[in-house]
């Protein structure tokens, strides 16, 4: 009870709401700052995978610049299967989709 004597000076009806309010405002401000200064929160909330988040981003960065010349301003999406690398779906800028089948060379060599 180190600081209990503060309540002899500060009325609890003033000090307790002030303390709780300070905690609430402080934690809210921290979370707003995180939301407004990072991109991964919005990415995660809009469906990006948590575990493969950075890997997927690296793949997109590696693949997209080479193919994005034809449609510089239009986005193109590449989705990998969550369970493995057997196939990937490409969503082209005009909305068409294509499926890429990835041969598992390691498995084929073992057979």
């Amino acid at each position: 009870m180190n600081n209990a004597k503060m309540w002899l000076v500060v009325k609890p009806t003033v000090g307790v709401p002030l303390f709780l309010g300070a905690v609430a405002v402080g934690s809210f401000a921290v979370h707003v700052a995180v939301l407004s200064n990072t991109t991964w929160v919005a990415d995660f909330l809009s469906g990006a995978s948590a575990a493969s988040g950075s890997a997927a981003l690296q793949t997109e960065q590696a693949i997209l610049p080479a193919t994005a010349d034809a449609a510089t301003s239009l986005p193109m999406y590449l989705e990998a299967q969550a369970d493995g690398t057997q196939s990937m779906r490409v969503i082209l800028p005009d909305g068409r989709t294509a499926t890429l089948v990835v041969d598992d060379l390691t498995q084929a060599a073992l057979r």
Binding site: M1, A4, W7, L8, V10, K11, W40
Partner: protein, 51 residues
């Protein structure tokens, strides 16, 4: 009541009452901290937070 010799002004609480108020505040802070710690661990595990 107002002539209680243990009362301390300006709040008019006794030291025992002040310690009681303080104990509730400390307990509440500990519970809040424990829940916040658990929440942060769950977020660290399930999101890309902290890489």
């Amino acid at each position: 009541m107002s002539n209680d010799p243990d009362k301390v002004w300006p709040t008019g609480l006794t030291l025992k009452e002040a310690e009681e108020v303080h104990s509730y505040l400390i307990d509440g802070t500990r519970v809040f901290g424990a829940i916040a710690l658990l929440a942060h661990v769950l977020v660290a595990v399930s999101t890309p937070w902290l890489g």
